[in-house]
């Protein structure tokens, strides 16, 4: 990311905006979930636009924009352009903004059929056939992973911007975190398919700690070998029809997960490609 070359604050507090697109609100809630730090954060930055938290609505430009959610409507295609124009540093928060979110599952489907399934009058619905990440539409300065994001990483990023240094968010895999926590490997010990070896760290490796496989909610780690992992699971008896949904959930449209799930699915159904 292009970090501020000098601290974003000298005497003036950086102006923060929080924008929401298609999402569940959980990532912006993470800011309000910083119960111990919230009032200090509000002292260090000027919360100028954050609809969920305050009725005070200040116009741009903003120093920092946190963007939650994916782009799924023609209106939002325009709105993200305006958010980008108004914002010096634009940070996506969470899997929807960074990879298209769980709603990107519609990218594999017949969009019109999906609308007919849910809506009595689909002709009233103005949405796009796809759910796409923010970076497909505007330049993004930094991406914070997770479904939901880790609030400690959010504080790290806000702190880094206030103090003008590069945010430190590790890019290793969940697998390494299990080793550090001395969590017994659920794949090795119980044969549970686990995406830990290819998933970006940040959650604290909670799923294996709770006796279940990682389902990839922080998206692909740096240079993941998804195909090799999938081959391993297929070779050890895990049915492909279980591996495809495992890769296609909250980061289904992340390129590495998407390629791996398409390759697996093509063995079952050659037409099942977005």
């Amino acid at each position: 990311m292009s970090t501020p070359s000098q601290p974003a604050t000298s005497n003036v507090r950086p102006r923060l905006a929080v924008f929401k697109f298609a999402s569940c609100d959980g990532c912006q809630l993470s800011l309000l979930d910083c119960e111990d730090e919230l009032l200090d954060i509000a002292g260090a930055v000027d919360i100028a636009f954050f609809l969920e938290a305050t009725s005070r609505i200040e116009p741009g430009p903003y120093d920092v924009a946190l963007v939650e959610g994916s782009i799924t409507t023609p209106h939002d295609v325009e709105r993200i352009q305006e958010a980008r124009r108004q914002s010096k540093y634009l940070i996506t928060i969470g899997a929807c903004a960074t990879a298209g979110g769980v709603q990107s599952l519609k990218n594999w489907a017949d969009h019109e059929e999906f609308l007919r399934c849910v809506y009595a009058r689909p002709e009233f619905i103005s949405t796009l056939a796809t759910s796409t990440p923010i970076a497909d539409h505007v330049p993004v300065d930094f991406e914070l992973r997770g479904c939901p994001i880790n609030r400690h990483q959010l504080i790290e990023v806000i702190g880094a911007l206030v103090h003008g240094h590069q945010p430190r968010t590790p890019r290793h895999s969940v697998c390494l975190d299990c080793k550090r926590l001395a969590t017994v490997c659920v794949e090795v010990a119980q044969g549970i398919p686990c995406l830990g070896p290819v998933t970006h760290a940040g959650c604290g490796a909670i799923c294996p700690t709770y006796d279940r496989g990682c389902y990839g909610c922080f998206g692909p780690s740096a240079q993941p070998n998804c195909d090799s992992l999938a081959n391993h699971y297929v070779a050890t008896g895990c049915p492909q029809e279980l591996l495809v949904p495992l890769l296609r959930n909250f980061n289904a449209a992340a390129p590495e997960f998407q390629a791996a799930s398409n390759r697996l699915a093509s063995a079952v159904d050659t037409e099942d490609q977005p």
Binding site: E35, I47, L51, S55, F124, I206
Partner: protein, 434 residues
């Protein structure tokens, strides 16, 4: 003021999700009120089809970051009904404990950061902290307790990972729960003090003749199971919910609302509904407090919902403490099941009100049909009816004043537009709403 005019709120604030409000007036006559939803739809019911049933708790949690447990609870109970799984008493209790965590987190959030600012003319909970530092800090600490309970039981506070069809992936250690007790003992007293504080607020004189609807259970303050009770109608089994409450399409707002059948009346779900119906089953301290606060039950003033949330906050602390004290580690943590072609439904009490799910599954354990009716969708028609009734008394100022007062009333419902919009219609006329 005379002649036609329009009052618009482009973006509702201090609510979850994004929506607006549109009011059409002719002089002091209210022509039209609509809660416009421009939150993009995410078609959950469509993409759940074909998924393994084990994925449903993780996926439906993502409908709402504020109340993921509600979605997880309604879906696991609906799927277990389909599969014929009988919950052990221990799993039942642990799920109730988990729900207490979400009620504490969600109610403390709404009371302190979203709702209380309205009573003091400030824009946010952060600004409220300038006037009431101790009260807001106390509220944040309560909210944190809810999240800590969710972290122990669920693995994390937002989109917890430990809820499984049949039970839990892993039962918590007794010591991890016991460690919460000193904070929760403090929190119970703090929640009582918070409720007494909000009960002193200056409430607008506005009462409505609500039909309140909530789950009711013979043995407890209903959370995860019960029958669907109404202050006006019959008490019906959850399996019959869709015969008594239907969704319908309103042409002008292009939104699905819910209404009672056959009289098409609106109804009110949420903390006020629960207290009006089930107040006698509150835990002792909450029950005493319900008598102490200055409310003639049943309460019909939506602005006093903040007191109702306070009473439920106290109740959730009392329940949580009691369950933690009696907890014995589960073994096994999950009841096994075999997939079969079947269907099942369930309703639970989300912080914002009754949340109904129905699923069909095939013999391979895949979802073939999903229907989800969130509380905010059910309250939508009631919110608009309330605004119709409230508007004539708030037209004495300029349009900004009217808009602000309308927004205040909407906020009483703690609406969750992200939840509602997994199926609500987008507003067609964007020129008016967005």
């Amino acid at each position: 003021m005379s002649g036609p005019r329009t009052v618009k709120i482009e973006a509702l604030t201090r609510v979850e999700g994004e929506g607006g409000l549109y009011v059409q007036l002719d002089g002091n006559h209210v022509e039209d009120v609509k809660l416009s939803i421009y939150e993009p739809p995410r078609v959950f019911e469509a993409f759940l089809r074909g998924r393994p049933l084990e994925d449903v708790p993780d996926i439906t949690a993502r409908i709402c970051g504020i109340c993921p447990i509600a979605y997880q609870m309604s879906c696991v109970h609906a799927l277990e009904a389909a599969l014929g799984v009988t919950m052990s008493p221990e799993i039942r209790l642990l799920r109730r404990l988990l729900y207490c965590g979400e009620w504490i987190e969600s109610h403390a959030l709404h009371m302190h950061l979203l709702h209380a600012p309205d009573f003091f003319g400030v824009d946010s909970g952060i600004e409220l902290a300038d006037q009431f530092p101790d009260e807001v800090t106390r509220g944040l600490r309560l909210k944190k307790h809810g999240n800590e309970l969710l972290e122990v039981l669920g693995g994390r506070a937002i989109h917890p990972i430990n809820v499984a069809v049949g039970g839990f992936y892993k039962a918590p250690e007794k010591d991890d729960l016991l460690r919460l007790l000193p904070d929760f003992d403090w929190g119970l007293e703090a929640a009582i003090a918070t409720t007494r504080w909000v009960a002193t607020f200056d409430f607008p004189d506005f009462t409505r003749d609500y039909d309140t609807v909530a789950l009711q259970h013979p043995d407890e303050y209903a959370m995860n199971e019960g029958r669907v009770a109404s202050t006006r109608g019959a008490v019906v089994a959850v399996e019959d919910y869709e015969q008594h409450y239907e969704e319908f399409h309103v042409e002008h707002s292009t939104a699905l609302h819910s209404r009672r059948t056959p009289d098409h009346a609106s109804y009110h779900v949420g903390p006020l509904a629960r207290l009006n119906l089930n107040r006698e089953q509150l835990a002792p301290a909450a029950r005493r407090l319900a008598d102490e606060v200055d409310i003639d039950w049943p309460c019909r003033n939506p602005f006093q919902s903040i007191i109702a949330r306070g009473l439920e906050l106290v109740h959730a602390y009392e329940e949580a403490i009691s369950i933690i004290r009696q907890y014995k580690p589960l073994s096994p943590s999950r009841t096994p099941y075999d997939a079969r072609t079947s269907s099942g439904c369930a309703a639970t009490e989300a912080p914002r009100g009754l949340l109904y799910h129905r699923y069909q599954i095939d013999d391979a354990g895949k979802i073939t049909f999903a229907k989800i009716a969130p509380p905010t969708s059910q309250n939508q028609q009631q919110i608009e009816a309330d605004l119709h009734a409230w508007l004539p008394s708030i037209l004495n100022g300029d349009d900004d004043h009217t808009a602000m007062q309308c927004e205040r009333l909407v906020r009483c419902y703690d609406p969750c537009i992200s939840c509602a919009t997994h199926f609500l219609k987008l507003t067609v006329d964007r020129g008016e709403s967005a």
